[in-house]
């Protein structure tokens, strides 16, 4: 079954030009994008699954010799489409700063320690119902050069494939109640409050593991309304 994707769904996304986030100013097209009909090239997409994921790829506390420092957390949820159907067997990739707010990246010069036991990267495959689960460390806030005293709220980057090349989504998951929310131009680039709140995970006491780890639930909703079979003769 091939889905049709109304472009009205795209209104949930932030405007590309969001001048408070300064790097958008020179990286946004100045001419209007051209609307086109979706063809097979847009409506199909890569299928990657278990053969791409190794053991412990979804547990960032087990990837190194020792245990990483910081607050161990479970991040889990469903990858869904707009009609609430689970998106099965799709690849979910994640990357994040360590507990101190530092990435393993040559460009990241934040003077906070690296953790030799934390990579900050993981991947997993959603199951037949679209469910996914990671075990990781709660990332720290980190400064960035956008404006005076700019700090990113704690976040985990997610990359999801979905049903087709145009359901591809790269987003960031935030944590509930972060005091940095009002000051972050990236978070606030999503101008609609309801849409913005969909990027905030919810604390999940039910799945919190006693004596071990807090759980956060984060559902990722991809495009894919109006499922109608498309002729692919």
């Amino acid at each position: 079954m091939t889905l049709n994707y109304p472009i009205s769904s795209l209104t949930a996304h932030p405007p590309r030009l969001s001048p408070a986030y300064k790097s958008t100013v020179k990286r946004t097209p100045s001419k209007p994008l051209i609307i086109m009909r979706h063809t097979l090239s847009e409506l199909t997409g890569p299928v990657y699954g278990h053969e791409t994921v190794r053991e412990n790829d979804n547990d960032l506390t087990l990837q190194c010799k020792g245990e990483p420092l910081g607050e161990r957390i479970i991040v889990h949820g469903h990858v869904l489409d707009e009609d609430g159907r689970g998106v099965p067997n799709t690849l979910v990739e994640l990357w994040q700063a360590n507990a101190c707010g530092r990435y393993i990246h040559v460009v990241d010069q934040h003077p906070a320690p690296l953790d030799p036991n934390f990579t900050g990267a993981g991947r997993t495959q959603s199951d037949a119902e679209g469910y996914y689960k990671f075990v990781t460390i709660k990332p720290g806030a980190y400064p960035w050069g956008n404006h005076h005293n700019a700090w990113r709220p704690a976040h985990i980057h997610f990359s999801v494939f979905g049903h087709s090349f145009i359901s591809r989504l790269v987003t960031q998951m935030y944590f509930p109640g972060d005091p940095l929310f009002p000051f972050d131009p990236i978070f606030n680039s999503v101008t609609d409050e309801k849409a913005r709140n969909r990027m905030i995970s919810s604390f999940d006491l039910e799945n919190t593991q006693p004596e071990w780890a807090l759980a956060y639930r984060f559902n990722i909703v991809l495009r894919g309304r109006n499922a109608t079979p498309m002729e692919t003769k």
Partner: protein
């Protein structure tokens, strides 16, 4: 599933630090799930390289972007069960990913895709679909890469939507030389000769 219908999750920038997770490419101690070489030993079709550089509105190279391509095989079929015509035994996946280098450069080694029908069944000229992600881009951009010298370009229904004076921003030019064909296309996010991007 007890979930009811919802609106989609908004996009956020890939940021400056994605390389460790998405494009480690030997520079970081994490295994690559994807590469910029799509060719497998049993892939049929004409081997080509597609390369270029990515520039911002100041004409400065974009050193921290990620490019992904998606394409049909040489027979015009997609490695996706949704394409009912897919070749069952092909190991060609049709997907590639690369991070830009220190010059804003990128390259993909792949095969020239075949002809894919449009929704009316009319042929589209051979093309790659390209997605561009970067710091400073809250939502990735989609464009297409076509190939210079293809007679089918003249009748392509998507190229026909593009004003003729901007069409060249979508057509990779073939480098002179022998051996496998090398096609070049620069991506300009903004400004003079800005690449045509599509709202899909």
């Amino acid at each position: 599933m007890s979930e009811t219908a919802k609106e989609i999750t908004p996009s956020q920038t890939v940021g400056p630090y994605f390389a460790y997770g998405l494009t480690p490419n030997g520079k970081y101690d994490w295994n690559d799930a994807f590469s910029n070489n799509l060719v497998t030993s049993d892939t049929s079709g004409e081997r080509i390289r597609v390369e270029g550089r990515v520039f911002d509105g100041d004409g400065a190279p974009v050193l921290d972007c990620m490019l992904e391509i998606w394409q049909a095989d040489a027979q015009g079929r997609f490695s996706d069960p949704q394409d009912k015509r897919a070749l069952p035994n092909s190991s060609f996946r049709g997907f590639g990913r690369v991070g830009s280098d220190g010059n804003g450069g990128y390259a993909f080694d792949t095969i020239k895709p075949g002809v894919v029908p449009d929704p009316d069944g009319k042929p589209q000229a051979p093309h790659l679909v390209l997605a561009v992600f970067a710091r400073g881009m809250l939502l990735h951009l989609y464009t297409r890469i076509y190939f210079d010298g293809e007679a089918a370009n003249a009748a392509d229904p998507v190229l026909a939507l593009v004003p003729s004076d901007r069409r060249a921003t979508l057509i990779a030019t073939r480098k002179p030389g022998t051996g496998n064909a090398v096609y070049c296309l620069d991506i300009r996010l903004q400004g003079d000769n800005e690449t045509v991007f599509f709202e899909v």
